[in-house]
Symmetry: C3
Subunit: 680 residues, 3 copies
């Protein structure tokens, strides 16, 4: 693993597609001029360039790329070189139709789009291998080459016969025999016992899609198969460029920016040198406040940072709007700098854009870019970008610095799969990732660093671990949580936890004994409420609204912190605290409003001293995130509101951006950001 | 036909799937222990057990089932034995793919799911025949065998070439020649005249789906073909167990609990010995009051009871929540007893559950059950079940008693098909079954027994027949209604009636003469309103809101009871009364609010003396339903509200549940139920 | 081209399908009787009669049609004879399955429906050719034959291999070589460069559907291929009946009655002698006022009239309701006459109905018709029709008179395609045609005649040209607009204009220079707002609300007329005026409320004197439309409100309908209409 990039600057730049402009030499020339003006330094080349690199089978054209490499090198820039497997030339699909995907309802796709090749097809692997090797041969030693970018936004699945065979092999390796499969998937239900491996097929809306064990294993297989494809892609690169780090760009899902759900990035992250990802928040939308969206951006960046516990890269973001949201609104003045600094604040060492230049045609021509169709440095967006370039130079010293958290929130991809697939509760209100965002928010508001960790990670370093809604909880996870608490940790869990094991089989004989030991209760029922239903809990004499879910449990030895106010379980405990060994565990039985979480965690924060006294007072909507190098601390003070905010600094700080000293009262303009430096 | 079960107890128990637990001997042992504790006595076995019974083609394993039979027999229990055709083993689909369905858009399905075999495939009929015969041979004389349960929740259709051929044969039998088909389906429209039988194909979204006659006959064929399959299933059972009654479980549709629409149960009921069905109301939802849902439950149970005019069985219900509603909320304390007693009150001789024990895996593992994953008798649901078991023992004498109604509401499955398929009016507001529920509600509120009858049934026994929205009315139905009125009956009909004949051809030369004679009017127009449109009628000086539909008619000889208040037909009659022979007919021209129906029927109830003086006064939300044996009457007094209700008893009654005397004022707790016994 | 029909009467009548009633001779006899009573004179025959005309391949039956022709001729009626290609007999689909369409996701359709044949299949063209020739031979010289009606409501597309080949040939003709295709479609994007013609396939949801150039050319091809099919249909007709005019019926889309989007009628209109179309407004709906819908009806009729700048025909409308709206509400008293007169007022020389008689069966049996299932002349709808027949006779002299407009609004079918396909802005709010309706409304309210012209038409005759939202603007269109202004014209344009060329490639180097010259500004950004976002502009001291879109531009030499009130472009110009040569150009940068357009155009109307002093004063909701013959003007004064309206006539007029003189104050009943005649 190569966990550092050979580059001292924070990366600034993005996807550059000169292959679209080979007929426009004046544009290519202007690119170089504008690169310098925009204070960019890094460009991702070749993402969808296969047609330009290999216009006919076996006939390669690298001259245009050679020249772009040279041009970038001449201005001191760096190249992130992509393998082109994300989209293939038409000749390839036509000659080798096995590279085309088969949909879940067993329709063979036609050529078109992108990100839609079969991960099994040997010929696709072979063709990708050839061109990747050619790229490594030609550019592996180029001084401008900084990093490899494998394919683009891997995702999706294929249901062709080859993939079915690979799925069956994967299952054979995992389960050894069909008896084990039938046990794990609860085969006898609806007579679904398999008597021959060939009977197993991937989930389908015109076949089987309600066997949770099958669905779960198919999702695991898709992750495994995608990684397998990725690993085959990198063979020639590792061989020829052992010192060049390798990444592939991850994604988010939905307007809520929840972690991408189709692949388990917790697994995938093990195979990349550096995590990079594409972040597209819908700033200035009309359904939430700016600070609420900032919380979501913070959450997912902290997750992707925590995957490897090292700085990551923003591989794509937009300097203005995108073209694929329902409403594609441009960033307001100040937002581009603020949102760029937020990435850095949460651990990114880059601000890279999709895209350098807006294409002239096809579906992404209105996606925001550094260079607009006007080819000019005088428009608002270009100036915003140059401004960010300037800022990144000023704060370059934060590069490689890290975040240190005493609080961890647990996010489990597989739990999300299993819970979403579960038939029960209410589909509209499961919202596992969104629930974690709400817990995270209580800490964000108080400027407390949080790691978002995955199940395999070590918990012992944290004072507080928050693991709500772990519907699927393998026994080893229970043991791990129990040991964590017994050793002195503080654990918070919630409703809908500990119901099934790793193959989605429920635990028998009641709530697992380990969980009963940890929380001092025995969960009896999970009440699922209709959207208009409400309950309430009382915690420290204050009433908090409850909706969606209420756990009803028998209190065995815990201390009740809050009780229900209504319904047939009125007066019964809703939130409890339990001592186990040297530690403490809390169980939040109901889905409460945000105010409860804020007040509840406020207590814990004080008790556990997980906050840090930065000596900067502010009102709601301002957020402070910290990065630390060996000697210094950097406080990113960010105003995520549309109003002037007064802050009060107890100490003296240097704002790296304005290069002024901050002390005492200060005013922050809407969207303003300070990067304050403190000696440790 | 065998219309009585050889069992004196009310049945209590449900679907039991030991085949899922063959690897868990301690669970199987616990089942026996818990069966006794839960006061259950009847278990449905083998519903999806084909894989367990015939793990490989021709290799049968009955030992496990033998043992379960013995265990149940030992505790005095009874078995309802299912044929396993509702789900087939994977080896069967793989070896004989013709058993798989073809969808309406002509996609061949893959193996998976359940309830999805082709009803035509000879090999499936053969394989089902073999295993059914084996079951009959082995268990036909078993003393615990109470009844046969054929397959499970028959439904759906198949569009494979074999089904097409069967459809054509069915049409040939019905129509003799193509000329008749073309006339019946109005062939020349859009040049749809058929010149060869092979041109006829089932309705399809990628072919023809707008020829109403074709659609209607396809639905009729699907019912016929399903019954044909069912009849082949029962051949070996009738042959070997001529004294064992046979049933199959019926269903409901949508949140409104309207009668299942895909099959005409009026036809199907002729072929079963005892009607049984699966009832899953969404109690405690957030869009209607409990009593409104109770009305819907009452309506459909009265319909299924009336299909054979004998006690029916609740084959499935849940002791808590289900897992397939949008929100799966558990029953509140008291509701399980109340809702169970409601089934009995409307004529059920059972409370059987899906399911005895929650499965450990797959899609239904969170569906409510008697035994939860905790395997314990100490949780709320188990205790509720045992409580119902206790109640059923106390009221065992109501078994085989019946309901006697002087009021009938007509429900016609085929009319519902035709009306829903009609292009015209407004699709959102047709709501034929829901409209019947509203008429039914006026009687439910007044504790009046109602039969819900189907077109073939005799009407002469009723003082009042209500037949609204009979869009499709064959001439024989008009004659039947005319004779009923002429002989002294009272008939109520409404807007959108008498428009088309049995092949969906409109009547020509105006509203049918028979209907004009019955109602004394000639209907000229049906005004279809937009959702926000309103009109009103005045009836006995009171104004009632009208929406959706307004008939405009010429009053020939009727007496106007209410007139329109608005629009271009202001002042014209909306509700009329007509004398014909010894009887009276009413036509309600507009869709009114519930209050009008209540007030309108109030008059009729008094005039016709169809109410019964039970001597129990109560407020709205309490419902009383009556069952009668030769000597006794049983008043089920049910509080379908969340508040304490005061009732006043004029006579003295014994409450079989509390075993106390009820007289004078009494208070009912929320959801409380009394079962009062009176000597006739 | 034959641009006049040989008939002095305004056409009144409609689609007549005696082929559905050949078994009902008494109905056919009644038709003749009722035709006379209804004052109808023209009947469209044979639209879906192929099965009746050629029941078996090569066996023709014309006797029934002969008789209908005779019957109509005997009562002085005329026939519009349809070619039957809109629906084919089942024998044809079964013997020649290549006539069936292939869907965009490559499913072969089955026989059924209508309007769904492949436009490429040689055998279909051959079979249509044969029957069309037979019809021309037999009826070409019949004195009752007035016009040919080709097929019915052409629409849709086919993706079969033959259509793919035709598409490729069409592209080869257009682009000569693949290099040009790749350039035009921005091939290198996502590696979409084609290296062989066979790689090009029509857009598909399971292949490629995001290449805008491909999508656009496919739509163009579909129009071309449809016209090609049409042209082959008319070969025998032109040959044998050179003096009989030919038409095909056009359509509208959506509840907003926007121009039909699947075909470019601007192209198609060149190939018909007379434009005819089918108009189905949802009168009396619950989401807009009657006058708002009247505006939309006016807009589209003015467009279809302007296609050939000659009177057109309403080929289909309904005398009451339809059967395919969500809610099928009948016309209120007065509305049928009013809405019929509105057609005439906007340039129609006919009121023809779908349909003469309601069919007895199948999907359109409840669609409004002159003759209802009661077969009677005594119902409301029949009397309304006869009333319209009477009115049409009274105003017969308006036939062939025209409308003269000094104002033109530009509608571009291809621009609508490109804009809707564009990924960017907000899909919910693009609404190009609806935006034009709003501009049109400002003139409708002031009784000013407007032509809706298409890009190829001459603009020089207009004082004012309004061309908003021309997202796709080829250079020649810019030149045309520039010349128009320079020569003294007044032009109004808006946000989202001039972004891409005719293959959807963006203009480079900023907003096109021609546009900068015309409007005196350089557009920098288009701000896209979320639905709840609002801005405002101030124009002449009045504040107007703004939503959806705001252009931000640099004012180079224009005069600012209105500025933004909010957001980061507060104070910047939103509406500007620029002088160029002898003319003036206005750019409206924001999507404003209607009131701004009204006030803005009020000024222009006065300045340019494009209004006409008719001497009739009225309030909002009354509309006046003018037709002019050589000697006379006809003022159609129409009350599109539900209330009595007072109007004031400065001059004296004769109302052709009431045959009374109108002068001074007069009152119009709800929905009343006057047709006032004035000597010029």
């Amino acid at each position: 693993m190569i966990n550092k990039i050979k580059e001292t600057r924070l990366l600034h730049g993005g996807d550059y597609n000169p292959d679209q402009w080979l007929d426009y030499p004046e544009i290519l020339k202007d690119d170089v001029r504008l690169m310098k003006l925009s204070k960019t330094n890094t460009f991702t080349l070749g993402i969808f360039a296969w047609s330009a690199l290999e216009p006919k089978e076996g006939e390669f054209q690298f001259e245009w790329l050679d020249e772009v490499f040279s041009n970038i090198q001449e201005i001191g820039g760096k190249v992130i070189l992509a393998t082109p497997s994300g989209a293939r030339p038409a000749w390839l699909s036509n000659k080798y139709p096995e590279v085309l995907r088969t949909t879940e309802n067993r329709m063979k796709m036609h050529h078109g789009g992108r990100h839609n090749h079969c991960f099994s097809a040997p010929i696709y692997r072979e063709k990708v291998g050839i061109i990747n090797r050619k790229l490594a041969e030609r550019y592996g030693n180029h001084p401008a080459l900084l990093m490899w970018h494998i394919s683009n936004e891997y995702g999706g699945d294929c249901h062709c016969e080859l993939c079915q065979e690979n799925f069956r092999s994967w299952l054979q390796t995992k389960y050894a025999n069909l008896e084990n499969v039938n046990k794990a998937w609860w085969g006898p239900f609806w007579s679904h016992t398999y008597s021959d491996w060939s009977q197993i097929e991937s989930p389908s809306s015109i076949g089987e899609n309600a066997v949770h064990g099958l669905n779960l294993d198919w999702k695991r297989f898709v992750t495994a198969q995608t990684i397998d494809f990725y690993q085959q892609e990198i063979v020639p690169l590792r061989e020829m460029t052992p010192d060049i780090p390798i990444t592939t760009n991850f994604m988010a899902d939905t307007h809520d920016l929840i972690p991408f759900q189709s692949l388990n990035y917790s697994e995938f992250a093990k195979h990349v040198d550096i995590v990079s990802w594409d972040c597209y928040p819908a700033w200035h939308n009309d359904w939430e406040e700016t600070q609420d969206l900032a919380v979501k951006v913070g959450f997912i960046n902290d997750l992707y940072r925590s995957l490897k516990k090292q700085p990551f890269l923003i591989m794509e973001c937009t300097p203005s709007g995108v073209n694929w949201h329902d409403v594609n609104k441009a960033k307001r003045p100040g937002m581009h700098l603020l949102s760029s600094m937020q990435f850095i604040a949460h651990g990114s060492d880059s601000v890279l854009y999709f895209q350098w230049r807006k294409s002239r045609g096809s579906s992404e021509k209105f996606h925001g870019a550094v260079v607009d169709h006007d080819n000019s440095e005088h428009n608002r967006v270009f100036k915003d970008v140059a401004n960010v370039g300037d800022a990144l130079e000023k704060i370059a010293e934060v590069k490689n610095s890290m975040k240190h958290a005493k609080v961890a929130i647990l996010y489990d991809w597989e739990n999300n799969w299993a819970l979403n697939d579960a038939q029960g509760f209410s589909n509209q209100t499961k919202q596992y990732p969104q629930t974690l965002q709400k817990h995270y928010k209580s800490f964000w508001k108080k400027d407390i660093s949080v790691d978002i960790v995955t199940p395999e990670q070590d918990l012992s370093q944290y004072s507080l671990v928050i693991a709500p809604m772990l519907y699927m909880m393998p026994e080893e996870m229970m043991k791990k949580l129990r040991e964590y608490v017994e050793a002195g940790g503080t654990l918070v869990s919630s409703y809908i936890s500990g119901l099934v094991n790793e193959t989605d089989l429920t635990y028998l004989s009641g709530w697992p004994k380990d969980l009963q030991a940890i929380f001092g209760i025995d969960v009896k029922e999970t009440d699922t409420l209709y959207p208009k239903d409400r309950n309430a809990i009382v915690f420290k004499d204050k009433v908090y609204e409850v909706r969606d879910y209420c756990s009803i449990f028998e209190n065995k030895q815990a201390q009740a912190l809050a009780n229900y106010e209504m319904d047939f379980y009125k007066g019964q405990p809703a939130v409890v605290k339990n001592q186990l060994g040297k530690g403490t565990a809390y169980y939040i039985g109901a889905r409460t409003e945000q105010a409860f979480l804020d007040d509840f965690y406020d207590e814990l924060i004080k008790q556990l001293s997980v906050g840090e006294n930065m000596g900067i007072l502010h009102e709601e909507g301002v957020s402070i995130q910290i990065r630390e190098s060996e000697d210094d601390k950097y406080y990113f003070v960010m105003n995520f509101t549309e109003r002037v905010q007064k802050i009060k600094a107890v100490n003296e700080y240097i704002d790296l951006l304005s290069e002024r000293v901050l002390a005492g009262e200060a005013f922050m303009k809407p969207y303003e950001v300070f990067v304050l430096k403190m000696k440790k």
